[in-house]
């Protein structure tokens, strides 16, 4: 096995046993980046020099016996998380030259655990999109088929992990932005419970929905990253003071008697047969491992989730993005007076999808429409949340596809916003309800990855990891790596 293809736990074993140094591991990953980056375009910034310095420090730390499971392991951070001294662009012209004066809490926690950051990953601008095609810079390619999208918005992070350009990555998920690219690239992606991980230093998109989580090569690695990033942070008042377990304790390959519900609304119209087949097969595997599977579950409000989401998220985004005025930081356009300069700054600094959502959000919040759109969407949000609550009285977890389709072709949906929004139809109800969701590799349809989504009640990440781990022990999808060629 090549060094750049190792999981965190495999790398840790070699680092701890002094069979490989962090500098060697980091060099291998950097070499892999220079070999394939011009094919996949996962990085906005590559921090090679900084990475090698951190790796040398990590080697000292390991030699001194002071190492965590993440010490010396190369990682990729989505470019909407602040990194002191390294640009944080959100893949937007607006922040193209922005260098944060502080680290996001997740970055600070990973740094103190000994992370070796190799770069910042490409994304849809301000995390608005499902394909990275809305990046203001370039589109990231799916390593399984370079003519297809990697999913989004954390597409660069998912590709980095799938293609061997980092051992693990962080992404953020507002409506599926960790899970959908994880599914499209055949890696593991966890969106934790709302409030489980601090968002301090995450550039805000929709504050009642955003959450940070890991993208990794297997479930064990997701548990290791969660151990480092989860927990209350006084700097994020929405982070919850709920005890953080050792997530590796849930890595037990035993799901006998665990109750799984399959909500029928997630096997939607327009779902590709290959995806449906793969998920049904995965559910049979879980059943074979002793899970009690019930197909007789309905979550009827699911059909309203897309509309509710695309009112709530743009409304919050419109408020969050009001700060980009060209005065304190970011892109600034000259103008005749204050308003003229501000309008031009925002008009030229934001790309089309961001502008579309700001307009949609401004409309939904404007006088005369607030009750019909925003308030209505928030009431529907309550119904969706309650249906999940009721389901979790009967089931330990729910199983769905992560995406109704395999990765689509570059260009296929970019000019049709509604089609693009439909990419998130299986993932966004989860953010609306604030519950955790795990996507794991569950096979292929026509050679393209399919992800299975496992959902649980708030703060039940351990249950999701246990189910994912048991499935992984019985299958080998997560061990497959793409053979990167020109598509």
């Amino acid at each position: 096995m090549k060094l750049h293809d190792l999981t965190i736990h495999e790398a840790r074993r070699l680092l701890k046993g002094r069979e490989v140094s962090s500098v060697e591991l980091t060099r291998a990953v950097l070499e892999r980046i220079s070999d394939i980056e011009d094919k996949v375009h996962a990085f906005v910034t590559i921090t090679a020099e900084r990475a090698l310095k951190r790796a040398a420090l990590s080697d000292k730390r390991i030699a001194g016996g002071d190492c965590t499971p993440l010490t010396g392991v190369p990682a990729l951070i989505k470019d909407n998380m602040c990194t002191r001294g390294v640009a944080t662009t959100c893949s937007s012209r607006m922040l193209q030259n922005f260098i944060a004066p502080y680290d996001a809490t997740v970055v600070e926690r990973l740094e103190s655990a000994g992370m070796v950051m190799v770069g910042k990953s490409n994304m849809d601008e301000f995390a608005m999109g499902s394909s990275t095609e809305h990046s203001a810079f370039f589109t990231t390619r799916n390593p399984w088929d370079l003519g297809r999208v990697p999913g989004g918005s954390s597409g660069g992070s998912a590709v980095g992990v799938a293609a061997g350009e980092a051992i693990y990555a962080l992404g953020s998920d507002t409506g599926g932005s960790i899970r959908q690219p994880a599914s499209f690239c055949s890696v593991v992606g966890l969106k934790p419970t709302y409030g489980r991980v601090s968002r301090y230093g995450l550039v805000a998109f929709a504050s009642s929905l955003d959450q940070i989580g890991p993208l990794t090569r297997d479930v064990t690695d997701a548990a290791l990253v969660m151990n480092a990033i989860a927990g209350r942070d006084p700097a994020d008042s929405t982070s919850v003071d709920h005890s953080v377990p050792d997530y590796t304790q849930s890595l037990v390959p035993d799901i006998k008697g665990i109750r799984l519900g399959i909500p029928r609304e997630y096997f939607v119209e327009g779902m590709q047969p290959g995806v449906s087949d793969a998920i049904r097969a995965a559910i049979s595997t879980l059943e074979g491992l002793g899970a009690e599977v019930d197909w007789d579950l309905s979550l009827p409000s699911t059909r309203y989730a897309l509309a509710a989401y695309y009112i709530i998220a743009p409304s919050e985004a419109m408020a969050n993005l009001a700060r980009y005025d060209g005065v304190k930081y970011g892109y600034s356009h000259a103008g005749e007076n204050m308003w003229d300069a501000m309008e031009k700054t925002r008009g030229h600094g934001f790309g089309p999808e961001v502008k579309r959502r700001i307009i949609l959000g401004t409309y939904a919040l404007s006088a005369g429409y607030y009750d019909a759109y925003y308030l209505k969407a928030q009431r529907v949000r309550t119904l969706i949340r309650r249906e999940f609550e009721q389901a979790f009285q009967r089931y330990d977890a729910l199983i769905t596809p992560t995406s109704p389709t395999v990765p689509f072709r570059i260009g296929e949906r970019v000019d049709d916003p509604l089609q693009m929004y439909l990419s998130d139809v299986c993932t966004l109800p989860v953010n609306i309800a604030g519950i955790p969701g795990l996507s794991i590799p569950a096979g292929f349809a026509d050679g393209l990855p399919v992800g299975m989504q496992i959902l649980g009640k708030p703060f039940s990440e351990e249950v999701l990891l246990r189910i994912g781990y048991a499935y992984e022990q019985a299958t080998d999808w997560h061990t497959r790596r793409p053979d990167i060629q020109e598509g």
Partner: protein, 97 residues
């Protein structure tokens, strides 16, 4: 819900964001389609259903009101498009309007 050109212009003015002629035309059609699609919400009976603003039941979160060190002024101004005498330079607010 069909948005008129004037409505899109009015919204753009509310959020202080210029639009090109091309964007104006495209957004008018696209956002009209999106809103029409979202009419589906009006079918839902939400009588007596309270709105959810945040998924967690957090109430007010307080911290101690005590002085803490802040970031150095130079660090904060380092990203400013225009600065003068240790301050952000802004356009005149009252002039001319």
């Amino acid at each position: 819900m069909k948005l008129s050109r004037e409505e899109v212009l009015n919204i753009a003015a509310l959020c202080r964001m210029s639009l090109s002629e091309d964007e104006l035309e495209r957004f008018q059609g696209q956002i009209s389609d999106i809103l029409e699609n979202f009419e589906i919400l009006q079918q839902v009976d939400t009588t007596d259903v309270p709105p959810t603003a945040y998924p967690t039941p957090l109430q007010n979160v307080w911290r101690k009101d005590e002085a803490r060190p802040s970031l150095p002024k130079e660090d904060i101004l380092a990203n400013a498009p225009r600065q003068e005498e240790g301050c952000f330079r802004v356009h005149a607010v009252l002039e001319g309007n």
